[in-house]
Symmetry: C2
Subunit: 355 residues, 2 copies
């Protein structure tokens, strides 16, 4: 049975990426060797790294003066690398969910943190209002909150450089990179399998802190060596390149954005017009187009496990909500086809007819 993969991450990748990766695991670049066992210093892998960096720049229209890195360790490692490299005295952070919260915790090790807004007390069900003071080194926000289904689908207007964790919505819209000192994203949502994180960093923003930075945590180390200071996560980078090629072929991030808006539009419409389901995000403008969080209305609440089973019988997997929200979460990452949204919407309708 065809599976409809709604997992929040690691999550669905295109068949193009999957197929090319499987082929390369057997024979990479016609070398007669597996992608798993080739030197990262081979000219064949260097070409992969170069093209992947170039395509990130092209797709996001990254201006001159920025470097693109592909590092291991996960986006969670960036929570400390960002302040290690960029926090001189004080930074502003917006608290919009679990990951934002974790990023704030790490930043506090390195300096003052001004939490300019938080929706924690309301279960992170909306993006809080905020104002960023002019005297901070940077403003950090999380563009999409995977767990709570909220998203900031724009580049905020503030008077300081920004840093954004775009782990779960990178490549779903154009970004004005010039407004940022750094953008980082764990690749395991819209790009590649788990194990690599993209960092887009402004070269000029580096080297202004007083502290000693361990070599591997210093972005300059990786910038200087073209992201090849040490052995990079070869396979995840190869897979990322496949996805990036596909994105370019499809027409770039504006095309992806349109597709994503259509998918999310259809699912939110089904939720909003339903007598049984309801969205969890309280401000519709803050709804994520990547992670759609919804629950059953109080009178149907006890049917939630039954719906997960019902949907599962149709090949719909990964829709169980995060334990801190409950209910359902349908992740509609770039690789998810409209066909899967249709299957979910149909399952919702059929389930309602039954009850």
């Amino acid at each position: 049975m065809k599976k409809h993969n709604f997992y929040a991450g690691p999550s669905i990748l295109s068949q193009y990426t999957i197929k090319n990766t499987a082929d390369a695991v057997i024979n990479f670049a016609d070398m007669g060797l597996s992608l798993l066992e080739i030197s990262h210093r081979s000219k064949e892998f260097q070409a992969v790294m170069d093209e992947a960096q170039q395509l990130v720049k092209e797709l996001l229209e990254v201006p001159e003066g920025y470097s693109v890195l592909f590092l291991g360790g996960g986006a969670s490692l960036q929570f400390c690398m960002i302040p290690f490299n960029l926090l001189k005295k004080k930074a502003a952070y917006l608290d919009t969910g679990t990951w934002a919260h974790n990023a704030i915790k790490e930043a506090r090790i390195f300096g003052d943190v001004d939490v300019v807004g938080s929706s924690e007390a309301d279960g992170y069900t909306y993006i809080p209002k905020f104002e960023v003071p002019d005297d901070v080194d940077y403003f950090h926000y999380t563009s999409n909150n995977t767990i709570y289904g909220t998203e900031m689908r724009y580049d905020p207007d503030v008077k300081v450089p920004m840093v954004a964790d775009m782990s779960s919505d990178i490549f779903s819209r154009p970004v004005d990179v010039a407004k940022y000192d750094a953008i980082y994203a764990g690749a395991q949502k819209n790009l590649a399998p788990a194990g690599v994180t993209i960092i887009i960093v402004k070269d000029e923003a580096l080297g202004h802190v007083d502290r000693v930075i361990p070599t591997m945590l210093d972005y300059r180390t990786h910038v200087k060596k073209g992201s090849m200071f040490n052995t990079p996560p070869v396979l995840p980078i190869f897979s990322a390149l496949q996805t990036l090629r596909l994105y370019k072929e499809m027409g770039g991030v504006k095309v992806l954005e349109k597709l994503d808006l259509d998918k999310a539009g259809k699912l939110y419409e089904a939720i909003d017009s339903s007598r049984m389901f309801t969205g969890t995000v309280t401000n519709p403008a803050d709804r994520s187009i990547m992670n759609v969080c919804f629950v059953m209305k109080p009178e149907y609440k006890e049917l939630e496990p039954e719906f997960i089973k019902f949907a599962g019988e149709r090949g719909i997997v990964g829709i169980k909500g995060h334990r801190s929200v409950g209910g359902f979460r349908a992740s509609l990452y770039n690789a998810l086809p409209m066909e899967s949204v249709d299957a979910l919407v149909e399952a919702m309708a059929d389930f309602q007819k039954k009850h």
Copy 2:
């Protein structure tokens, strides 16, 4: 043409590991989903993680009270994580090559470092004599020096806990783990594709430093969460499990050691009995069984590039020596079959006949 893969790392993996990984990239654990797109929180991946940790414990006879972690970021990240977590005042380090040197550099950020021995002045061509004082927090050494072809094939007898970087020779001999506070190893030599590092850490050794450790760099974070605090590098861990299963099936590390000794023995014999080639390690007892470094004698020196070409025509790849040593380096990791050593030895003999 069949390739004989002598790369130093990432390097040859067994066909068993490669084939099973390629299959799982198409369909993992009969889930109808790719290994690239499944949740690390799925019970199917949790089973992979659990078995991989268990097999490391079994193969290396890890005593109670130790945890096994699979982290991203590379062994180079461990150069700072080790002192972050374990260096209270002073540590002893042995300087046996580039990686040892890099580890020393990072440790100095965190405390006093007593370099108890170094062969740097002699181009790292042997393992220096050393004595470890009793008043250090730990003694750190690099068991195998990939670039220089030297190896410490034993667990040193010192009066303090040890920490070892076993990146390039783990699973090539039994290890007395009880002597160590931590053992770490980038997996891309004897285990898995690049992107994951194994850490075997003594639980009781943690929590004794005064400094604040960023969450992701604190081993306790990962110990507490069974190496699943954040999204782990899923595919490299799956591949590691395949290799570990194979190692168990083959009979464990003692069997692997015997095979490795036989392979290295044959190649060193060919070098020592040759009129054209000579080993670069000055003390035969320090010769690595993982990375065999050799050059052409002065009178044949200019033939080195020709031999690389000559061997390449027979499918022999990856034998170019590191630029800091020159000549040749044949890496004989666990997955390399004797047949490949035979091919290299034959190429050496045939080349000598020609000249």
